[in-house]
Amino acid sequence: MTVFGWGVFKGMMVTLKNFLTSYYRKPDEGGIFTVQYPEEREKKIENFRNFPFLVYDETPGKIRCVACGICERECPTKCIHIEMELDATGKPARKPAVFDIDYGLCMNCGMCEEVCPFDSIFMDHVFEITAPERQTGLVRHKDALLKANEYFQKIRPTLASVIDQKRKAAEEKKKAAAAPQPVPPPSTGGPTQGAV
């Protein structure tokens, strides 16, 4: 219609319709979709990547990380600091003594998760992190980063189940290779496969 003022009128009808439907439509069909934080929370999405954390199996002593330092090297912002633990004789003990991540520098890119060959560092979902001051308050040390495998399975079930199955298959293979056999093959394979 080319009546002068028709565009204005149509616009007002659209706004009126939105006003009325905001009272009875559901959130994803055009109603109000405000989530009244902190009483309500948004639904969790599995693949959400926020800051990293370390995984341990069963007890915090059985940490999966062997302090290889690959994530420290590959981190684009250089926010990870690792020091290998030395055992009594001074040899490296394949466990980190110091594992610091500076959450203030971390940009949540997920490169550490991608490059880790030992399935030990993954991206967490926790985002309600505060600290009184920036330089030292946001640095997380090893004990704050360690979380159980059960927690990992709870927040990322599909990925955790894939990783668990892979590790179980590797365990089986290791047991089969280590068990006494008629013709023991020269075992060169290590406990970890390092597959993609």
């Binding site: 002068f4 007002m12 706004t15 009126l16 939105n18 006003f19 905001s22 109603g31 109000i32 405000t34």
Partner: protein, 394 residues
Amino acid sequence: MIPPMLRGIEFNVDMIFVTAKAWILSLLAQFLPAWLLVLASIVISGVVILCLGPVIMMYLTLLERKLLGRIQNRYGPNRVGKWGLLQPIADGIKMFTKEDIVPANADKIVHLLAPIVIVVPALMVFLVVPFGERMTAVNLNIGLLFFIAVSSITILPIFMGSWASRNKYSLLGGMRTAAQMISYEIPMTLAVVPAIMMSQSLSTNTIVLSQVGDYDLHWYIFTPWGIVGFIVFFLCATAECNRPPFDLPEAESELVAGFHTEYSGMKFALFYMAEYMNAFTLCAIAATLFLGGWQGPFLPSWLWFFGKTFLLICVMIWFRGTFPRFRVDHLMGFAWKFLLPLTLLNILLTALWQFTSNLAAWFWSILILGISLWTLVKLNRTFVPEKRHYPMGN
């Protein structure tokens, strides 16, 4: 219509405020001389208005925020008190506790006076608004003239405020605001003239009474000149209050800041208050002149009045949520080149109506209106959207 038993109750509820005031005066009559009683009557009206005005303004701000929120698919404020009902009180406390900053080179006296002077006409206009059947605070027989004259004072303190700020951007903003308000006064006044012609009086109460008729079909909005007059008056009222879409002078996202940039705390609260009270009174007068004021079946008269005013305010808020802003030259062009000829034509239509008020009048009115609107639109090329064509390439 109403059964006789309920009629008495309805009458009592209708007159509840009048009887309350009469009761207070009768209490005071026991120990006051007659002339002091007159003064007391005026003081009671004045006190009621002084309390009513700011409270209305406070809850208007809340209403605006909630309605805008619903239009935009979100809740408005709902944290402070249930449904946000204590939000205006929180806003008020915030405004009181802000620091009062006066620019170094500013003209201190004028800077202080501007917000005070702007609130006074906004409050004075409440005196002639007919809130209910016998509830006009002061029943002037030139009520409408008083209204128009006093509401025109508002332009002066805006200019005072922008001048006193010693800020070239505020000055530009203030001058634009003054130009806008002056330009829109003229179509507003002319749009009111038909109502005066038909009711033969300037008193707001008489104008409402002359719209009494069977089944409320005598409201002025149900006539061709009434519709045009109401739309023009409402648009001019929106422009007078500096409300969107006519709010270029006080827009934050434009370059030049508005006239109230240099005001903070209580002074800014007074400017804010004046704007909302202006909006309320202009909607109230629009309801009185064209929508039949306090008339309506069954419900008490003051309830009808507030309902109609409330509806018009919701339409103003609806405008705010829908439209982008006018640019300054479009604003002026719209007032002078479109609304003004339309109002003059409206007076012609009213005269036609006064002589032949039946079907023939409707026919002639619609014919004249159609031709003139078409001519005006053709003459105002810039206001009409062009049709565009978008070829699709490969």
